[in-house]
């Protein structure tokens, strides 16, 4: 699946987008898998309460299932307007 990062999450991880092959069942499992991979992920995902996640461009919860999802995005709380 495609994993996208925005704002300081993008800056901390160092790329705006990457292709990730995973067997993670939920978002939380994907986060754990990425965090275990490298420090920059662990740093970005250290406080999930400061993060939001979208699945196929719809806001979702961290316990949401990834089945059928093509695009996951992580970002801080939004500040539009």
């Amino acid at each position: 699946m495609d994993v996208l990062y925005f704002a300081w999450v993008r800056e901390r991880i160092g790329v705006p987008k990457e292709r990730v092959e995973t067997d993670a069942v939920t978002v939380a499992e994907l986060v754990a898998e990425l965090s275990a991979r490298e420090d920059r992920y662990a740093a970005a995902f250290a406080d999930l309460s400061a993060l939001r996640v979208a699945l196929d461009q719809e806001l979702a919860e961290f316990d949401a299932p990834l089945a059928g999802v093509r695009e996951v995005a992580f970002f801080p709380p939004m500040t539009g307007g």
Binding site: L4, F6, A7, W8, R10, A54, Q57, E58, L59, A73, F75, P76, P77, M78, T79, G80, G81
Partner: protein, 148 residues
């Protein structure tokens, strides 16, 4: 309903006029315009607005559709820019048209409250010293959603 996401400036006068001309049957038109203002500390020179292409348009469309279904609106407009903006530049506008004023006001406030916290935009303040800082979401903005 019209949703516009662009980096170019928009023409507030022309957009307001166009919206008002198209609002047949409306007795009340409300517009809100957001402007890049000086930071409270006064050292900001510009603002970078990042967004999530694709999701942004979907989120704005969904927020505007919800407003149209909750209130008796004749029309709604959302324009939001992204990219680098300088102090005094207009960031975004919303407009609502309704038969009655209360609906037009409430729907415009609803659009703004949701757009603040549920549309995928992120603001970074570019400071005079060359530093930059992401704008943190405000608890007040999240709390504002509980009103609806």
């Amino acid at each position: 309903m019209r949703i516009v996401v662009q980096d170019a400036p928009f023409d507030l006068a022309a957009e307001t006029e166009r919206f008002a001309q198209g609002a047949a049957g409306a007795g009340a038109i409300v517009t809100f315009t957001g402007v890049v203002r000086e930071a409270d500390t006064g050292t900001m020179t510009a603002m970078d607005i990042e967004h999530y292409p694709g999701m942004t348009e979907k989120a704005l469309t969904s927020i505007a559709a919800e407003a149209l279904s909750r209130w008796d609106l004749t029309d709604a407009l959302v324009i939001h820019r992204f990219g680098r903006l300088h102090t005094g530049e207009q960031i975004m506008m919303v407009a609502t048209a309704a038969r009655h004023r209360v609906a037009a006001f409430e729907a415009a406030e609803y659009l703004m409250d949701y757009l603040k916290s549920r549309a995928p935009f992120w603001k970074k303040e570019i400071l005079a010293e060359g530093d930059a800082a992401w704008v943190a979401a405000k608890d007040d903005d999240e709390a504002a959603l509980t009103r609806w």
